[in-house]
């Protein structure tokens, strides 16, 4: 269970989040929709612990833990995964090496046994197959020379391997064609279950026809201004965000 209460945050002295309240029960998928500049990406970075975002008030707990007091890598080890809107390139770092290092870092932090190279390769191949991706993905350097769609697929591959209990998808649909969108959505849907919850941050309703949310929240001006069922997404698509502001 993710619980956000009265969360306010600033970036470079400018207030972006103005008091967010949100409850995401375990096993549910919630969508956060909102226009550009409403604070969607700020929320995802604040939840994953990026530096440069000053928390000025409120609290965030995840399974009872104070998330805001944790380092980004501690959040990752406790099951939080951020799928980046703009995945970062790591020249010279092989994708397989990166993924295994990340997986083992998390396992080490949780006091679990690390996986060796062979076991990892087997696991990675299973996930690749399920996601209809080529083994080639593992041999390339992390996101270097990847198309926009490949980068997003690589995020989903990482998510499948790291098997988080809370995924935050920051505009994962941006820049995806319809086939890539389906692959990415299938990846997320495959993880759905009683131990997985997700916060799907998006500008458009399109993604939500593939990843059907349990709840939809509208973020505007740094606050959740409306919440509802999945039909709210369709209403927003038809009427725009303007109606919510009123």
């Amino acid at each position: 269970m993710l619980r956000i209460e009265g969360l306010t945050a600033e970036v470079e002295g400018k207030q972006i989040l103005r008091g967010i309240d949100l409850e995401l029960p375990q096993g549910e998928v919630h969508a956060i929709m909102g226009p550009n500049g409403s604070g969607k990406s700020t929320l995802s970075y604040v939840l994953s612990g990026r530096e440069g975002y000053e928390i000025t008030g409120g609290s965030v707990t995840f399974n009872g833990q104070d998330l805001l007091a944790m380092e980004p890598e501690e959040r990752a080890a406790s099951g939080v995964f951020l799928a980046f809107q703009y995945p970062v390139e790591l020249p010279g770092v092989g994708n397989a090496n990166f993924l295994r290092t990340a997986l083992n870092a998390q396992k080490r932090a949780r006091g679990e046994k690390e996986v060796d190279a062979m076991a990892f390769l087997k696991l990675a191949r299973e996930k690749l197959k399920a996601l209809q991706m080529s083994d080639e993905m593992l041999k390339r350097n992390v996101n270097v020379g990847f198309s926009g769609g490949e980068k997003k697929r690589n995020e989903v591959l990482q998510m499948a391997l790291l098997n988080p209990s809370l995924a935050i998808l920051d505009e994962t649909d941006s820049g995806l064609d319809i086939d890539a969108l389906r692959i990415v959505s299938d990846g997320v849907n495959a993880l759905r279950g009683p131990d997985f919850s997700a916060l799907v941050i998006t500008h458009y309703q399109r993604l939500l026809t593939y990843i059907v949310p349990d709840r939809v929240h509208v973020l505007m001006g740094g606050r959740i201004v409306r919440s509802g069922g999945k039909e709210l997404a369709l209403e927003l698509e038809a009427q725009g965000y303007g109606a919510s502001a009123a």
């Binding site: 440069g52 380092e71 951020l82």
Partner: protein, 499 residues
């Protein structure tokens, strides 16, 4: 606090505690009197029972050196060295006569074991016994080792095995006695006595080093290596290495070095000469881990080294790979003289400077023969207040038709108090030659660090991963076991707190 600022703090926090090789061996030593004069040169020569021609050669070098000025063109600053305040000869007392491993002082064997250098042939071959202490004893492949302790070689392993193939691997002092014709023919033939201030000093007072001869058509069956250890106080180490690869032969040679941590600066002025005949290949790899000084810049080794290889024969190849993580000041330009037609020179380098370390390093590629090729890949990493300079020369002679050079210099900055400099010289006198130069400078970006951390890596692991990625093109040139060591060393050099 931004991630990068935190990295800087982590890096600044790197204390000498991160240098795990800084211990001192307590062993009875014999010293020559401090200072440098003709008598010291004679003393060293006499100590080694050298023939007259070599003493004359040394004295000629010394006479030249007295007239030379210490070079000041490199982008490094260091206090003036008082050449009269150094010991030029320091050797463990007990070492005498023929060197069977059984006769080596156990204290020395323990020292090398602690450094992870196996001086036991059986242990390595079997791959189990006694191999537990050291990360490099994985037992996969035997490595023959020449161990140089201050001024003398204390042991050379696998000599018998190598001799069966006609390979000579011994200390240069022994080679002077056992193979004088080879030493006389090649010593100083690549780096002449008067080449430069430090090489000239070395020519006068060199004490030991390794000698390798690979006969025609022989492929050396194992990696050869020399491990240099400075132990004694106020002592300069002046080693001299000579490697000759005869026609069609092949050898891969590794070099490692460490020193105790001390507040004083110590001088290391080595000369390495390589000669490759027709179709011969020499691969020379260095992991340089001399004590770098502490976080305030106190102490550390002055590493002023002249390394040069001559591709004398057609289709010969010399490849230098270096990982430079240690030393307070590094002044080093492993070079290739590409004389033979179709000969190939390569230089792959990673140089890290952290805290107050300074490195001025690069290469010189002299294209003389036709269709000669050279490749230069240099990766400089600066952290703390480190200063890192790539200095290179590509010189293409008028007759080097079809010569090609490709140079790539990349610099990575960690923090905002360090510096990276690139000084490439290109002199081309041949219209058919082709020279390419690429250079980049970048920082470890905050978004890269955050990306790694969001996946569960801590900051140090993230920096290590990014830096290793940056160096990948060079690290892949190292022999496998060395590459693993080098990767760990990169992480330790940068973090301090990791080790």
């Amino acid at each position: 606090m931004p991630a990068v600022a935190e990295t800087i703090e982590t890096v600044q926090a790197a204390q000498e505690g991160g240098y795990k090789w800084g211990f001192e061996t307590d062993i009875e030593m014999e010293f020559a009197p401090k200072g440098l004069n003709e008598d010291i040169v004679r003393f060293i020569s006499a100590k080694k029972g050298e023939p007259q021609w070599l003493l004359d050669w040394r004295l000629k070098a010394f006479a030249m050196w007295k007239k030379m000025e210490e070079p000041d063109w490199a982008a490094v600053n260091y206090p003036r060295i008082d050449y009269q305040d150094l010991y030029y000869y320091a050797a463990p007392v007990k070492k005498v006569g023929p060197k069977s491993l059984d006769e080596v002082d156990p204290e020395l064997l323990r020292t090398y074991a602690k450094l992870g250098i196996p001086l036991k042939e059986q242990a390595i071959l079997a791959g189990v016994e006694g191999a537990g202490d050291s990360p490099s004893d994985s037992g996969r492949m035997p490595v023959a080792v020449d161990a140089v302790f201050d001024s003398v070689s204390v042991a050379t392993t696998f000599r018998g095995e190598l001799a069966k193939k006609g390979i000579i691997f011994c200390s240069i002092s022994e080679a002077v006695h056992d193979h004088p014709e080879l030493v006389r023919q090649y010593l100083g033939s690549v780096v002449p006595q008067g080449d430069n201030f430090f090489a000239c000093l070395n020519s006068a007072v060199f004490t030991d080093g390794s000698f390798v001869y690979i006969p025609k058509g022989v492929r050396c069956p194992m990696e050869l290596s020399t491990y240099f250890r400075i132990n004694a106080k106020s002592t300069g180490q002046f080693e001299r290495t000579l490697i000759i690869a005869d026609e069609g032969s092949h050898v891969s040679y590794l070099e490692g070095c460490t020193a105790p941590q001390r507040d004083e600066n110590q001088l290391h002025a080595a000369v390495v000469e390589l000669v490759a005949m027709d179709d011969a290949t020499i691969k020379y790899s260095t992991v340089q881990n001399w004590y770098p000084g502490d976080a305030e810049g106190k102490g550390g080794i002055f590493n002023f080294v002249t390394k040069r290889g001559a591709c004398r024969g057609a289709r010969s190849k010399i490849s230098w790979t270096q990982v430079e993580t240690g030393s307070a000041v590094t002044w080093k330009y492993p070079s290739c003289i590409l004389q033979g037609d179709d000969s190939v020179g390569e230089f792959y380098s990673v140089a890290i400077t952290n805290n107050f370390q300074q490195a001025d390093t690069g290469t010189k590629m002299f294209h003389i023969g036709r269709n000669t090729k050279s490749t230069i890949v240099s990766k400089g990493i600066s952290a703390g207040r480190g200063q890192n300079t790539y200095r290179g020369l590509v010189k293409i002679g008028a007759k080097a038709h079809g010569a090609r050079n490709f140079t790539q210099c990349d610099s990575l900055l960690i923090g905002d108090q360090c510096g990276a400099h690139t000084v490439p010289y290109i002199e081309n006198r041949c219209a058919t030659a082709k020279v390419e130069h690429e250079a980049t400078t970048s920082r470890i970006a905050e978004d890269q660090l955050f990306y790694c951390r969001a996946r569960g890596l801590n900051e140090e692991e993230a920096v290590g991963l990014i830096v290793n990625g940056f160096c990948r093109e060079v690290l892949k040139e190292l022999p496998m076991e060395f590459a693993v060591e080098a990767q760990k060393l990169l992480a330790i050099s940068l973090e301090g707190s990791v080790g």
